[in-house]
């Protein structure tokens, strides 16, 4: 790894440690979810009903770490923040590894 690459990785790790800002700021400014990403409960409140097709597909997949949160829905902000950092680190590890392997096989030697 070159010195420049090392520097970039340090930047990414710092970014990972700062990710809780991504949940703390919305909380502080009383901002809800992204538009169009509501769960079934929220949708029922918004519309007064849940679209039938949507209801059928909504639970298509049970993600192991939903919402980057280990603590479940009732988790304290502190636990959510820690989960968020852990998810960030896990996520960059998995993404970087996957892309590294895929592109390593595609790349040409030399140059």
């Amino acid at each position: 790894m070159t010195r420049f690459q090392k520097k970039l990785w340090i930047g990414l790790l710092i970014m990972a440690l700062l990710t809780p800002l991504g949940i703390l700021l919305p909380e502080k400014f009383n901002a809800g979810q992204a538009w169009g990403e509501w769960g079934i409960d929220k949708l029922e409140k918004l519309l007064g009903y849940v679209p039938e097709g949507l209801k059928e597909l909504a639970d298509f997949w049970k993600a192991p770490i939903p919402d980057y949160n280990f603590g479940g829905e009732g988790a304290s902000m502190a636990l959510q923040a820690i989960s968020y950092i852990a998810s960030g680190l896990l996520g960059i590890g998995v993404c970087a590894f996957a892309v590294f392997i895929i592109s390593r096989f595609m790349a040409k030697h030399g140059k």
Partner: protein, 230 residues
């Protein structure tokens, strides 16, 4: 902008899977020809960067949240086809591990954020930059590339949401999937991305390009002559 499961009808998500598969196949072919080993570590970092920046939810006080995607700068630094690969992998992992974006919507989400966005960014950057290789014009080109590419990606997502009531309604006339029509979905998605989310994407694109041009100018795909670079 991560469309969850259930919001898109099969008539929408299946064709979009097809479109994304098409782009993945071309990306794979192109990268096999062009990609050099020295870029591999940067691809891995690009994916990590995109994953992280999407975790920074930006609030609209009292309203919704949104985030930058990072696909704009990745397309400029490493080329649009490389961005297709890196951002697609990120979106798939987000869906599988973290439930961010639906599994049925992977094709749609990859099309919006990992295909449309990198190419719009790359084209705008090339167009605005013209022949300049540094200076204000390059900075403006980078900002606009990041800014507009996120807005256009959001517009695509908005249209996918907004056409659902036209495509599928139940016997009682209620929409079966995403319930809001185009007249609500498009302004809701596009306005938030025009301000503030797009501004963040634009600034990130501009500042990172400046950083890379200063420290590793030979890496920057969109500023070099691509025929010489790869």
């Amino acid at each position: 902008m991560h469309i969850p499961d259930g919001y898109l009808s099969p008539q929408t998500y299946i064709p979009l899977y097809g479109v994304s598969f098409g782009f993945w196949a071309i990306a794979q072919k192109k990268l096999k020809k062009q990609l050099s080993l020295k870029h591999v570590p940067y691809l891995a970092m690009a994916a990590a960067f995109s994953f992280l920046i999407m975790m920074f939810n930006i609030p609209i006080p009292g309203g919704t949240t949104g985030h930058a995607v990072g696909a704009g700068i990745i397309a400029i630094l490493l080329g649009p086809w490389t961005a297709v690969l890196a951002v697609s992998v990120v979106l798939i992992i987000q869906a599988l591990l973290f439930g961010d974006g639906g599994i049925t919507a992977i094709g749609a989400n990859c099309f919006n954020m990992a295909v449309v966005m990198p190419f719009v960014s790359y084209w705008i950057f090339k167009l605005v930059k013209g022949k300049s290789v540094s200076g204000v014009r390059l900075a403006v080109a980078a900002f606009l590339a990041g800014y507009l590419s996120l807005v256009v990606a959001a517009l695509f997502a908005a249209v996918e949401f907004g056409i659902q009531p036209l495509i599928a309604t139940g016997a009682n006339g209620r929409p079966l999937y995403a319930p809001y029509p185009l007249s609500i979905a498009v302004p809701a998605m596009v306005l938030g991305h025009l301000f503030p989310f797009g501004i963040v994407e634009g600034l990130v694109t501009m500042l990172l390009l400046k950083y890379f041009l200063k420290h590793e100018p030979d890496l920057v795909y969109a500023v070099l002559d691509p025929s010489k670079n790869r």
